[in-house]
């Protein structure tokens, strides 16, 4: 019997972009734990709530969606979902919500990652209506205050004056509520600084995402997922700017050298649609890599870079324009723009059982995108955090089918 000799993992380079990104992700949670220990109130916040408000006020918050991602990616998704299901939550409910409710109301300590329990909640409905139900239940079960920012889906292509006024009125009220709840004070000067940093980070991030247009791409698009966390919950911080700029530098160097972090020959380039299948991230990556398919862009990872503005009103407009708050036409046009700017050969769509809002008009949107861009589309079933929904065999078959169509379109099919 041959003994396998495993290589010792290379120690992380503290000057690398990856190290810096991981550091930020951990620091947000560490800071929140420390704030809690000092007696400060810590919030749980939905990912699309305007962070500039929180950063300006200096309120410690953590993000249950992000926590659910870590739990799911590290193998705890099913265990946590089952805890929620035992309490009566249907397995049909968003798995992020099931994990968060299980953690907050029952488990409170997970081997994958811990976050401080909330003293209050900040919900924003611009992602989905499920977010409202999820945070309502947390508020009721934990008996803590819930500040709700409602941003309904915009049925039109432009943001109406009525929607703008509604959101602005709520935001001003939310700031007042947060001041009363935490004792922290709003500062216009601090807000300006926060916006400046936010803009610089978004610009650097967009530059990173734009590098995917090069053939071959200097990175595997799966690496954009590493940037997403800090972009979602720490894009107003100087260390995030440093981390994103470091990544940018590394990718530019790759480009200059003609190398990539994508560990295969880039035969095909695709856009992926939908939230990542976090419990099966390695499997979904390998299924592509083994066929020379590089996912070079996705609205899911790129969207945080769109949150770029100069003032309070701009922040409101951007919050009304996040991917899940817009209609089918605007959603389609966003994808078409990405595809046309990224030399994409095909589209791989995650039909995500957890996400009814994303799945609701997914088929029609993808049909229109495929027609407009003349690219093939393949679908696979999965879930953002519940591993039970995914079938590796189905995924392999669908990806293989997509690869074959992309190959045939290149005119290289052998008889």
């Amino acid at each position: 019997m041959t003994e396998q000799i495993k290589k010792a993992p290379r120690p992380p380079d503290p000057n690398s972009g990856k190290y810096k990104l991981d550091y930020i992700a951990n620091k947000v949670i560490k800071d929140a734990f420390e704030a809690k220990a000092r007696g400060e109130k810590v919030g749980w916040c939905s990912s699309a709530f305007p962070k500039e408000i929180i950063e300006t006020l200096g309120i410690p918050v953590v993000y249950p969606e992000s926590h659910a991602v870590v739990v799911a990616a590290r193998g705890g998704g099913q265990r946590m979902c089952e805890v929620a299901e035992a309490e009566g939550y249907s397995n049909d409910i968003c798995a992020y919500a099931r994990i968060a409710i299980a953690y907050a109301t029952k488990v409170k300590d997970t081997p994958e990652q811990n976050i401080p329990l909330p003293d209050f909640l900040l919900c924003c409905s611009n992602i989905c209506n499920t977010m409202i139900n999820w945070y309502e239940n947390l508020a009721k079960e934990l008996n803590i205050p819930l500040i709700m920012l409602d941003i309904p889906i915009n049925p039109d292509n432009e943001i109406s004056d009525a929607q703008f006024a509604y959101v602005k009125g709520q935001l001003l009220a939310a700031i007042k509520q947060l001041e009363e709840l935490t004792g922290k004070k709003w500062s216009d000067e601090r807000f300006k600084e926060v916006l400046k940093m936010n803009k610089r980070v978004c610009q650097a991030f967009l530059e990173v995402t734009s590098l995917g247009k090069h053939v071959p791409s200097p990175y595997s698009g799966f690496e954009l997922f590493n940037l997403m966390g800090p972009m979602m919950f720490a894009r107003q911080k100087a260390e995030t700017l440093d981390a994103i700029e470091t990544c940018l530098k590394e990718y530019k160097e790759n480009l200059a050298k003609g190398v990539s972090t994508f560990k295969a020959e880039e035969k095909y380039r695709i856009i992926s649609e939908g939230i990542a299948c976090w419990p099966w991230l390695r499997v979904t990556y390998n299924g592509l890599k083994n066929r020379g398919i590089n996912m070079v862009t996705t609205i899911y990872a790129v969207a945080p870079g769109f949150l770029l503005y100069d003032d309070f009103d701009g922040m409101i407009r951007a919050s009304c324009r996040v991917p899940m708050a817009i209609n089918l036409q605007t959603s389609r046009d966003d994808r078409v723009k990405l595809i046309k700017g990224s030399n994409v050969d095909g589209m791989l769509v995650h039909v995500n059982r957890s996400c009814k809002v994303w799945s609701g008009f997914l088929y029609e949107m993808c049909r229109q995108v495929a027609e407009e861009c003349n690219i093939p589309v393949a679908y696979f079933d999965g879930d953002q955090a519940d591993p039970r929904v995914f079938s590796e065999a189905q995924y392999e078959t669908r990806v293989q089918g997509l690869a074959e169509i992309m190959e045939s379109r290149k005119g290289d099919v052998k008889a």
């Binding site: 009566g88 249907s90 409602d150 049925p155 089918l328 809002v357 997914l362 029609e364």
Partner: protein, 375 residues
């Protein structure tokens, strides 16, 4: 005066033949505007001389709608789209769809492409509704609906006419609340008959429905209630109108004495104030609405309301009729369950959807529940 059975047959005929109702209105030269779940400003549609007609889906195989929806989207949204794609709504001038849940969001967007012959009119309601900005946003949503209705139908809006329609709707609310109470004292009325009284309201002009319900109330006054041999229960959910399910209630001896069903009593809990402008009054009405899974409420007062109502009506248990793939109801279920447990109010949950043809599991659950309540 009609007798009870004649009236109940009339309600049943209307409830089970929406196409016939639609065709009759169209033949009479009326214009029909479809109204999707859960709330729409019917008063506006009515005031413009149009007939609002409920579109809450139906029991039918889902085929064409599968091109638009994955299987895990609620069957109400899917079957509404299926009916639209099958031309079941042919002749309707428009459909109003409020994006009050994630499935309804998808329905509205898909409708534009799947049923292009019937214009989609969105009605964006505020979730933060009981404040100045929420009321203003709600009013702007109504103005958008008015503008779209004018384009789709050629009808014109007039605030004075709206005030009249609000009166008609408020009166209808009153009689529906009244009939709900009175029916609780009439176990001889079957669950299916009770359902038809509520369901028919979606397919007939509200003033006409009020007349029918008043007639029923009048005849019921003169009938002494049969001996209460059935066990009184309360229902909760989005829908409880499947004939096979309703038959089980009667077969196993359960009487619905109150409900928290979105397609039933939830529609009639809140009146618009009689103030002017009437459009402001209608926005004020929405700001007062509550106790519903698709309306934001961090206190989840709905669960307490269910417990209170069940106790007031003498219900010995609550039957939660959970529509599959309906997250708002699925989240609320846990809170309702806990509230019932705390109040020592027995409850049972049965899952339903628009495609169910076999209710044997529900029958077993309801039989067992009856046995529990009898003990």
């Amino acid at each position: 005066m009609s007798n009870t059975q004649e009236l109940l047959s009339k309600f049943n005929s209307i409830a089970t033949n929406p196409s016939k109702q639609k065709d009759a209105y169209l033949a009479a030269g009326e214009k029909i505007v479809l109204t999707a779940p859960v709330y729409t400003p019917e008063e506006i549609i009515h005031s413009m001389g149009l007939i609002p007609m409920g579109a809450w889906g139906g029991t039918l195989p889902l085929q064409k709608s599968r091109e638009y929806f994955p299987a895990f989207i609620c069957s109400i949204a899917q079957s509404i789209l299926e009916l639209g794609m099958n031309d079941a709504f042919k002749g309707a001038s428009a459909i109003v769809i409020p994006p009050l849940c994630d499935c309804l969001r998808g329905l509205g967007q898909n409708w534009k492409y799947a049923v292009p012959t019937i214009p989609f009119i969105p009605m964006s309601y505020p979730q933060n509704r009981a404040n100045e900005v929420g009321i203003a946003f709600c009013k702007a949503g109504y103005e958008r609906v008015i503008s779209d209705l004018e384009k789709a139908t050629g009808a014109r809006f007039d605030d004075t006419e709206l005030a009249k329609s609000i009166q008609i709707y408020n009166e209808h609310n009153v009689v529906m609340r009244e009939v709900d109470k009175v029916l609780a004292t009439h176990p001889e009325i079957s669950a299916a008959q009770r359902s038809s009284i509520f369901k028919s309201a979606f397919f007939i002009e509200k003033g006409e429905h009020t007349v029918l319900v008043k007639e029923l109330l009048d005849v019921l006054k003169h009938i002494s209630s049969a001996d209460a041999k059935k066990i009184p229960v309360m229902t909760s959910g989005i829908l409880c109108d499947a004939p096979d399910l309703l038959e089980i209630f009667d077969r196993v001896g359960l009487q619905i004495v109150a409900d928290d069903v979105a397609a039933e009593s939830r529609q009639y809990r809140t009146d618009a104030p009689g103030t002017t402008p009437a459009l402001d009054a209608l926005a004020e009405k929405f700001s007062r609405m509550d106790n519903c899974s698709v309306l934001f409420d961090a206190d989840k007062k709905r669960a307490d309301l269910i417990v209170e109502t069940a106790k007031q009506r003498g219900a010995r248990g609550v039957v939660i009729v959970l529509t599959k793939f309906c997250p708002p109801e699925e989240f609320d279920y846990v809170i309702i369950k806990k509230a019932c447990n705390a109040a020592k109010l027995p409850h049972v949950m049965i899952e339903v959807d628009r495609q169910m043809t076999n209710y044997e599991q529900a029958r077993t659950a309801l039989e067992t529940f009856r046995d529990v309540l009898q003990d």
